[in-house]
């Protein structure tokens, strides 16, 4: 009886409350809220998104695991996964360091120079909370933030290869913009070619290198290395492999090169952030 009474009164009570505010006024207030959210400083609004990722971390992780289990992906040519890819990437980084060492020795005519690579860098391990990869954006959310010394632009390693950079921060979480994100731009070098080119993400789990003349020999399977970025990365490291190399349709004098990550980013459960000059 009481329940029936409440249910009878319920909708009427709602209507009374809502009718006190006219529809145009309601719309205007909500629109104003939206505009405030849009033009509020991003570090404030990011906290809302990070809070969502923190609160729903458990179901988000379960969803990710189920999705990865359900999908069986075949690796692209020259791309391997898991332990094997970690070792291969480690070897590729060592080979690159060796090549640079050799180049320095030649250039400096025998002068000794130390090559530290990441020896003095601070490496911070972080767990992946959320993976968000689609045509419009490719990002990870990790459980480390400003409190752990992270800053925008820090390079991020996954399975010993560069996967992206820190893009947004909150005290306890951060977003990693993957190099496959359409807004990502990273200077790279292909194989043994001593030419820098900009690699742009294409949002299809790969990135593109353009404006490289076809007079340079590029082959499928060639390793792609990041260029040094003083203060952020003091040594070149592997970022991907060439999976497709064809003449650019718009300008046949240049290559249109597709680069794929050398690890399965969606399967990463933890990553490492490189801090080149950590504060003591």
């Amino acid at each position: 009886m009481a329940r029936k009474l409440i249910s009878d009164l319920g909708p009427k009570r709602d209507n009374v409350r809502l009718s006190s505010l006219s529809r145009p006024m309601l719309f205007t207030w909500f629109m104003l809220t939206g505009l405030i959210l849009l033009f509020a400083p991003q570090n404030l609004t990011n906290d809302l998104q990070f809070a969502f990722a923190r609160i729903f971390r458990w179901p988000l992780t379960i969803g990710k695991n189920i999705s990865l289990y359900a999908r069986t992906r075949r690796p692209a040519p020259g791309v391997m996964f898991d332990k094997e890819s970690q070792i291969q990437n480690y070897i590729a980084n060592l080979e690159e360091q060796l090549r640079q060492e050799h180049q320095k020795v030649v250039e400096l005519s025998g002068l000794r120079d130390r090559f530290h690579a990441l020896e003095n860098a601070g490496l911070i391990m972080a767990d992946v909370i959320r993976v968000y990869i689609n045509a419009a954006q490719s990002e990870l959310t990790i459980n480390r933030g400003q409190n752990d010394g992270l800053a925008e632009g820090h390079f991020v390693l996954g399975d010993n290869s560069i996967i992206g950079t820190i893009s947004e921060l909150s005290p306890r979480t951060a977003s990693v913009k993957l190099f496959t994100d359409p807004a990502s731009r990273i200077a790279v070098r292909i194989g043994n070619l001593n030419i820098d080119r900009l690699m742009k993400g294409d949002g299809k789990d790969s990135a593109k290198i353009q404006l490289l003349s076809t007079k340079h020999k590029v082959r499928v399977g060639d390793k792609v290395m990041t260029r040094k970025k003083p203060g952020f990365l003091d040594a070149s490291m592997i970022i991907g492999t060439v999976t497709q190399c064809k003449r650019d349709d718009r300008n046949p004098a240049f290559w249109d090169i597709t680069v794929k990550p050398v690890c399965d980013i969606e399967r990463l459960e933890s990553i490492t952030v490189i801090i080149m000059n950590p504060k003591e």
């Binding site: 629109m31 849009l38 509020a40 990011n46 419009a136």
Partner: protein
């Protein structure tokens, strides 16, 4: 409107949308997947009275912003605007048949996506080149899945879909 039930349902769908679970049914080349929050926007615009439709539109937009959004506020505004427009349109033209519902989802998806993209550009935070292709894929997929998703949504919200009326 059962607002507690609504809040629980939107949270559930936002988590589902943000997790990679929908990637199982993603279609190449842009990994298009249905936007469940957008389908719900159209559902509530069609099955609620106009005042409730305005509130649900902005609430769903806010949920989209914090779960899958790139630029905070852009989805709140675009969902709110087009959800309200659809609710007013529904007072004039009742969207009863499944093909019309699918068409409403397709158009709303494309328009909300486009407006959200322009608002993100306004903040200087969008640099996507193939946005319209990606939007088209999502809009088409949502339009196909949408009328089917209306059934569990109506069951969860205890809304009788066969009693459509222009309110």
């Amino acid at each position: 409107m059962r607002w507690v039930r609504f809040a629980a349902f939107i949270s559930l769908v936002a988590v589902l949308q943000a997790s990679l679970l929908l990637d199982i049914i993603a279609l190449p080349p842009f990994r298009s997947k249905p936007n469940l929050l957008l389908i719900l926007l159209v559902f509530f615009a069609i099955h609620s009275n106009t005042t409730n439709a305005i509130i649900t539109s902005f609430a769903i937009g806010f949920a989209a912003d914090i779960s899958i959004g790139y630029t905070m506020g852009s989805q709140t505004i675009s969902f709110g605007l087009f959800g309200t427009a659809l609710a007013y349109l529904h007072r004039v033209i009742a969207i009863r048949k499944i093909p019309y519902q699918a068409l409403a989802i397709f158009i709303t998806a494309f328009m909300t996506g486009t407006l959200a993209h322009f608002l993100a550009l306004l903040r200087g935070q969008s640099a996507v080149s193939n946005v319209y292709s990606a939007l088209l894929g999502t809009a088409l997929y949502s339009a196909v899945v949408g009328p089917v998703f209306f059934l569990p949504a109506a069951w969860f919200m205890r809304i009788k879909t066969h009693r459509l009326s222009r309110r």
